[in-house]
């Protein structure tokens, strides 16, 4: 049995939480006495062999019209098929917006136990047990699953990333998506030039003390100077 990790890329580029996912998968595989394998989709601009620096020795790359942009059903079908090819019983996904749209569909397709909002590595793998956040981070709890297949969705930027040595083998993969429900993407609008919260090394955070949105600009300016992201509590939104 192996561990499969979904290596998300944004317009062909890997980000910090891709490496975080790779590292989480490699450490989970170590715990289980096995190896981690990565899967990534679409046209790549970045060199996928760098994933090896985070402990993943092989990356399977799926290309073609079905995988040019994120589609939760098509990606779920493909991950399921590759998991079967690689004899993977554990799948690691970063809790990005796409990761959250993918994981539950994949859980149904693979009849897996799904644990989300994870903030730590598994503490046990016989009955897979892992710590997760509850009550909007006002608490934590140990969750377990005895399902033979399991999917772990961790909170981005909760683990930290340490770059090591190594190069991953990049392999072209094959998977069919079959007849799945389709959703047409008509437009994508991305913010550019700003540090996103899940990627941030530094965060400038404000709360109710800011009094109102008119005063938020000074935090934006500070964040820009520091190369930081901004964040706020719900009450100050």
């Amino acid at each position: 049995m192996s561990v499969l990790v979904y290596l998300e890329n944004w317009e062909g580029k890997f980000k910090k939480n891709t490496f975080e996912a790779a590292q989480y998968a490699a450490k989970t595989a170590d715990l289980m006495g096995t190896e981690a394998v990565g899967i990534t989709f679409g046209d790549l601009e970045d060199d996928a062999t760098v994933i090896g620096k985070y402990g993943v020795k092989k990356v399977i790359h799926l290309k073609g019209d079905d995988f040019k942009i994120f589609d939760n059903y098509k990606f779920a079908e493909a991950v399921k098929e590759v998991a079967s090819q690689e004899d993977a019983d554990t799948i690691i996904i970063s809790g990005t917006f796409n990761g959250k749209a993918l994981a539950p569909l994949l859980a149904v397709k693979t009849d897996a136990g799904l644990i989300t909002n994870i903030t730590a590595l598994p503490s046990s793998h016989f009955t897979l047990t892992v710590r997760r956040g509850v009550f909007s981070s006002k608490g934590f709890v140990e969750y377990s699953t005895e399902a033979s297949n399991r999917i772990l969705l961790f909170v981005p930027n909760s683990m930290g990333v340490e770059e090591g040595e190594g190069t991953a083998e990049l392999v072209n993969g094959n998977a069919s998506v079959g007849d799945v429900p389709t959703i047409e993407v008509t437009d994508i609008d991305r913010v550019r030039g700003k540090v996103l919260l899940p990627e941030a090394e530094l965060v400038v955070s404000g709360g109710r003390g800011m009094k109102g949105p008119d005063n938020w600009g000074m935090l934006e300016e500070l964040a820009e100077e520091l190369g930081a992201a901004t964040a706020c509590c719900q009450a100050s939104e």
Partner: protein, 248 residues
């Protein structure tokens, strides 16, 4: 158009969270329960579809009788009828299976649910439900219109937004943006009175698997001290950011 809105019965956002029974259970003492805020955005959007396009809105929750005041509130806001599936919601897979059984027996065009509940923050039920039904699924939805038998949606993605079109039926996991907070519906006296006579159907749970179990809870570490710096003392602020926080 038939719309189903899945509602979670959750502690009020201002609740003090404590654990009891040797940290094995959530302490419900003194907790006020509300409609899950993400579900409230979905319900308000569904009522908008009811008012503008004649949609018939059903609300549903999985829980024992103690959740009924939350369903009655949803009826007071404007839902036509309610369904309670009579079992404790112990696990997302089990809850999604219970809801799937209801959806399979009714011809809903649209199923709305909050993108996550604010108690267990699982964010699983809408996607699991979609997978079980093999329906299109849009997560973290910020905008929804229905026209000509199609759903036109906006979903949040990392660092932006995506516009989408899908055929019905569809499952949508909603959040703030689906409607604005200022547009959330508050039950008025007429709605509260009408809610008393609206149908609230209790349904037996189906035999569905449980995939996960909950172990012991813990509270987060206490927050560190806060340093208050006089607004005029910029030098001290810069010194602390440089020497202590090491961010500049």
């Amino acid at each position: 158009m038939k719309v189903l809105v899945c509602i979670s019965h959750v502690p009020d956002t201002t609740s003090k969270i404590n654990f009891t029974n040797n940290n094995q259970e959530f302490d419900t003492n003194g907790i006020q329960y509300v409609i899950n805020p993400y579900d409230e955005f979905c319900l308000t959007r569904a009522i908008w579809l009811q008012e503008k396009q004649g949609a018939e809105v059903t609300v549903l929750t999985v829980g024992k009788a103690d959740v009924e005041p939350t369903l009655r509130k949803a009826l007071a806001i404007g839902a036509n009828d309610a369904i309670r599936i009579d079992t404790e919601p112990v696990d997302a897979f089990n809850v999604a299976s219970q809801i799937a059984a209801v959806v399979k027996e009714n011809e809903y065009d649209l199923v709305l649910a909050g993108r996550e509940s604010i108690d267990y923050n699982g964010g699983q039920v809408p996607g699991l439900l979609a997978g079980m039904l093999n329906w299109p699924f849009v997560n973290a939805c910020l905008g929804l219109e229905v026209a000509d038998g199609k759903a036109h949606l906006v979903r949040e993605i990392d660092g932006g937004k995506e516009k989408l079109t899908a055929s019905l039926p569809i499952i949508v996991a909603g959040q703030k943006g689906l409607v604005e907070e200022s547009d959330l519906k508050i039950p008025n006296m007429r709605g509260i009175m009408q809610a008393r006579s609206k149908p609230l159907n209790v349904r037996e749970a189906t035999d569905a698997p449980v995939k996960t179990t909950v172990g012991s809870f813990e509270k987060p570490a206490p927050k560190g001290d806060v340093k208050m710096i006089d607004a005029e003392n910029v030098d001290e602020l810069v010194r602390l950011l440089h020497d202590e926080a090491k961010v500049i």
